[in-house]
Amino acid sequence: MTRFLAACLAAFLVSCGGGNPTQNQQNSVPASSGAAAPAAPAVDPAIASTVTGKVTFAGTAPAPAPIKLGADPYCEKANPGLRTENEVVGTDGSVGNVFVYVKDGLGTRTFTAPSAPVVMDQKGCHYTPHVLGIQVGQPLQIVNSDDTLHNVHGLPKANKEFNQGQPIQGMKMTHTFSTKEVMIPFKCDVHGWMNAWIGVLDHPYYAVTSTDGTFSLKGLPPGTYTIEAWHEKLGTQTQTVTVGEKETKDVAFTFKA
């Protein structure tokens, strides 16, 4: 409760400030185990491995649909070509905005959350990025770069729901999550088309595919892992992969209609 109140206080103080959004801090390098960690050893960078891969879609994917922005004249002017983001499929069938993460296999290792915030911006009346990952306890900074009002409405199930207004351009708020949860939907109730997804994990081994469908999970300790790929419309797929010391393994996920 104390941490939550402190987070709320920090969010309030940040929201009163100004400044430009900072860069996203995805795929952070794993931190060493904390002092209170159980017996599991820290990850040795000298033997760390990597899992790379690509997510594709087999079949004919629907094209992103144009969004009617007439409800807010600012949005209509700022981002007239905005389209839905829940089907990012390239010409070769590659799928972007897929959250890929280690679902199982890290044992009892614990990881300290980075202090650098992950930034989610509201710009052109949509969220940037649309899908992102964050660690438990890591600050999420939410910025309103638009000259219109947004409300930031997180709808987690394991964490606490929140809804905060950002009526002024440049406003920022910071929020932290206390429990891992994949995935948490975000939405703006002012602009019904605006939504985003956040994966909250207790480790740093996650990535979001770019528009070419590729991802990379770096710094993994040698071991056998369950890797899950999550997409908001296509669902989830899992694969098991074993990596040795300083090894790079490639996995492919193929979603079907």
């Binding site: 004249p73 600012y74 219109t148 729901e161 207004g165 009526p167 002012v190 602009h191």
Partner: protein, 341 residues
């Protein structure tokens, strides 16, 4: 003036229900995260050019609600000052208490992120407020007073001697209210499209599969059939046994609104909950309820008739000399208001 003002308050309550329906239908309930302020602004100073997207519906609902709340305060005070009948004054106080509770429920449901129970209670209490303002408008109307003045007496004129009509009208009104509460439950639990086809349910008369949402949705459809049967029975009874327009008009209106309501309900499903159709379904449901209520009250008008009432209208409307008769029934109020002859 009081009858006109009471009618205005009742009509504005109907407008408020439509505005509330728009909020839910557009999914705008949380587009203004704070309450009672709007994005930190005092409600009435919020810039109009910032009423964009969902804020337009939510903030508009708040503005209309505040206006209706103010009108009900004025109505309650007016009744307290000028209405000789104690039970009508009490209706004013009750409407005031209900609209205050309604405002608090509206604030709570925003601050607690629209919990189903609170949102359903908010929707259900809205109907009670509408019923109260409609009742006040009816019993303060000149038509109601004229019924008492009918030299042939209430038994001949308004169904006062028709216990069958009185019973079935009460049952119909209560069932309509229950049906609206079920509809609010369906609406706020996201069960509006749990059965995606109409008039069948998954191609069958009875759904072949069940879960909580399908059950709520099907209960609303079954409720509609029950309401339709009761409304037909009530209206049929009126048309067959009574000639007075004060009963036949609401009976006819009840049937028209009911047909419209079923059509809107079907269109709500078939249009995938198009927000305007959905909102019209909400407000028309409220109109079905108050129409049935008006018919019920008129069927029971004889119960409210007494020697003091006829005089009380004359007194309220400026003929203070008649108040001496009323003083025999409620001397304390006449003394309190300084209305005695």
């Amino acid at each position: 003036m009081l009858p006109l003002f009471a009618a205005l308050v009742a009509a504005s309550t109907g407008v408020l229900i439509f505005a509330g329906g728009l909020v839910t239908s557009t999914g705008s309930g949380l587009s203004v995260p704070d309450w009672p302020n709007t994005y930190g602004w005092f409600m009435w100073t919020f810039p109009l050019n910032k009423m964009v997207g969902g804020i337009f519906y939510e903030h508009l609902h708040r503005l209309v609600a505040s206006t209706v709340g103010f009108l009900i305060v004025v109505l309650a005070v007016w009744l307290w000052r000028a209405e000789p009948r104690a039970w009508v004054r009490r209706l004013g106080y009750l409407a005031l208490a209900a609209v205050i509770a309604q405002g608090i429920l509206g604030g709570i449901t925003v601050l607690w992120y629209l919990p189903d129970a609170v949102s359903i209670a908010h929707a259900s209490l809205a109907q009670i407020v509408f019923c109260l303002t409609t009742t006040i408008a009816l019993v303060t109307s000149r038509g109601w007073a004229a019924g008492y003045a009918d030299p042939k007496g209430p038994r001949r004129s308004d169904g006062g001697g028709d216990p069958r009509l009185q019973r079935i009208a009460i049952v119909t009104t209560l069932v309509i209210y229950t049906q609206i509460v079920v509809g609010a439950t369906m609406r706020h639990t996201g069960a509006g499209l749990a059965i995606p086809d109409f008039p069948l349910a998954f191609g069958h008369l009875v759904p072949p599969q069940w879960d909580a949402k399908i059950a709520i949705h099907f209960a609303h459809r079954a409720g509609a059939a029950t309401v339709a049967a009761l409304a037909l029975a009530t209206a049929g009874h009126v048309f067959y046994h009574h000639r007075r327009a004060e009963l036949r008009r609401p009976a006819m209106l009840l049937l028209v609104l009911l047909a419209l309501q079923i059509t809107l309900g079907a269109l709500t499903v078939l249009s995938q909950k198009q927000f305007l159709v959905n909102s019209l379904h909400v407000v028309n449901g409220a109109l079905v309820l108050v129409t049935s209520l008006v018919l019920t009250l008129r069927a029971h008008r004889a119960r409210f008739a007494d020697a003091g009432s006829a005089v009380s209208f004359a007194q309220r409307d400026g003929n203070a000399g008649s108040a001496v008769v009323f003083a025999e029934r409620d001397p304390a109020h006449v003394q309190r208001r300084g209305l005695g002859a």
